[in-house]
């Protein structure tokens, strides 16, 4: 099987701290893999390693079969990233920010297309024309989602993406993820939100102290079982 994301014995050590201890992970196209775990468990480090933001101490990460450390620029053509806090140029409008980041990704859209991407992410036409400096965190998050979608990436790397979104916007986001997944986009999402993970994830992985300690298909668990499983690992 061809995996769009793969980690082989991926290890990351910072001075005085082992952040990731030999992670092995494969994610197929269309899969939504949710990483659960406490702060410092290694979720963000995993995402940063796939993004090439940090170099692995040993092991390798692959995106679409391309090793991240070998071709850090190439793999970014396949990836879109939504951080926990989407920060944008405050003096530019939502439209201008989307235009800027899409252009950097190699896509030059006309204004109606940009409006459509922002609308799909849940941002109104009026808001899209305002400066981002006036936006709430949730509105910025929506522009971040629009940037990711407009990139037509094969993989979405999401780090607590629904943090700051209201319940309605979170639901819209979940729906969007399901659509993208159905279109073949793979998703790796680090989250604390067990219920969101159950809702949109095809598999969940529980991380603890830099190790992926359990991986389960969400279809085999109900929300309560997933919560119990999570709490069990957190309390051991």
């Amino acid at each position: 099987m061809n995996y769009i994301l793969e980690a082989r014995e991926l290890r990351k050590e910072y001075p005085g701290r082992l952040a990731l201890r030999g992670l092995n992970l494969q994610i197929a196209p269309g899969e939504v893999f949710c990483l659960l775990g406490q702060n410092g468990a290694g979720k963000s480090t995993t995402i940063n390693l796939f993004l090439g933001f940090v170099a692995p101490t040993s092991g390798a990460a692959f995106v679409n079969g391309v090793e991240v450390a070998a071709q850090p620029l190439k793999i970014k053509e396949y990836l879109a990233y939504i951080p926990e806090q989407v920060m944008l140029y405050p003096h530019l409008t939502g439209l201008e920010n989307l235009s800027l980041f899409s252009s950097l990704a190699g896509f030059q859209y006309k204004e109606p297309e940009l409006q459509a991407y922002l609308a799909r992410a849940g941002l109104s036409t009026e808001a899209a024309r305002r400066r981002v400096g006036t936006y709430s965190k949730g509105m910025r998050q929506k522009v971040g989602i629009a940037i990711a979608v407009a990139k037509h990436a094969k993989v979405l790397l999401l780090d607590e993406p629904t943090s700051g979104l209201d319940p309605k916007a979170s639901n819209e986001f979940s729906e969007l993820l399901r659509q993208l997944s159905a279109e073949g986009t793979a998703v790796l999402m680090a989250t604390h939100d067990i219920f969101r993970a159950k809702e949109v994830g095809t598999r969940v992985g529980i991380m603890r102290e830099g190790k992926l300690v359990d991986v389960r298909p969400t279809a085999a668990l109900n929300a309560h079982e997933l919560e119990q499983l999570y709490l069990t690992y957190m309390h051991d």
Partner: protein, 463 residues
Amino acid sequence: MSQLTLFRLLLTYEWWHFRAARGLVLLTGLLLATGLYGIYYGTTEIERQRQHLATLPELTHHNVAELQQKFPDSADAGEIGYYHTTYAAHHPDAWAALSLGQRDVNPYYVKLRLLGLQAQLYATDNVNPVKSLSGNFDLAFVLVYLLPLLIIALSFNLLSSEREQGLLPLLLAQPVRPALLVGAKLAFRMGVVLGLAWLLSAIGMGWAGVPLDGRVLLWLVFVTAYALFWFGAVLVVTALQRSSAVNAVALVGTWLLLVVLIPGLLNLGVAAARPVPQGLALTIKQREEIHAGWDRPKAQTMNRFFAHYPQWRDTATIRERFVWRWYYAFQHLGDVSVEPLAAAYARGLQQRFVLVEQLNVLSPAINAQTSLNALAGTDLPTHLQFQSSARAYHDSLRAYYYPFLFRQVPFTHADYAREPTHSFTSQPELPTAYRGLGKLLLTVAGTFALGLVLMRRRAISPR
């Protein structure tokens, strides 16, 4: 998407950011206004000097008319030499308006009579010392001292602002080389700064009416290289990936070091390393020698004089109580007595200049100022050349008047017109400017090389 297309896009986005940052637009406008004032100041000052110089022949004619009225027929040449004033004028090159250099502190004309030269050479008009202290506000000042501050204001947060705003993770997640991001940011700022510097230079050149020769290109290359040096410094600081505040302190500190501290220390160091006899000491010694001439036996004075001018040895022995040729002989001997001091003074100044030129590699600001002054013909060597020409002119006046004095030929009205005249126009010191440019280009290359090495050694961190 090709790298070139991406680069163009990045430049467009930099324009968006620049346009939105009202403070930077205002600052750029302020520098433009400051530069225009610098051009106005320089051209006005040079025009004032030109107008002043233009009145000098008129003053001489007026003086001649007075003497012709005072001496209706002919006169003793000694009387004429005593009362007749003429001028050695230092005409500015058109470029002087852009870089006034030492034209404000050194006299641009010298009023001469047939008396001892040295005291006249240093007897200048009084100038307001506070005005001298504040210095010139010409275009060169704006470009050398203020332009780096605009570069710092535009670039101190080249990448750190994105990091501090939390934008870098999203930016670096795009398939764009970080080097291209930094390159585009630098290139845009270079475009703004160099566009401004070239625009001001073009306006200044047009306003000053400089001839369209190689110096136009030399000036532009120099200004470009100087601005690039500061962008190199920005690159080095950016590569260290510190906060905007640290970057600002580092760059302003560099500016203070290179533009204020090193020039000040160099000034003190050079003055200590190359001591120069005081001009006042020279004047006093000459005056004492001249005054002593009244009390010395005339034969002794004349014999010393004839040692310098043997062609007048056979002229009549002086028996009178006062004759002009004796008077001018001891005036002349006053100059002779301070010749070693005068030579040491000029040599010392020249040596100081040479030492400053050798050490200006320590500060591109000094190098730029020295070189632009050399290009405009307003530096110290040019002033020393003018003084040398004034000495030669005074020698020619003596050569003209002495036959009248020693052969006791009456000085007629027609003889005024045959009197030698003086004219000196600044010439650029191009070798100095070229040497300065060579050093500056090496400094620019070194700074950029350091910045690039630092950038390569440490990948840009998104956080």
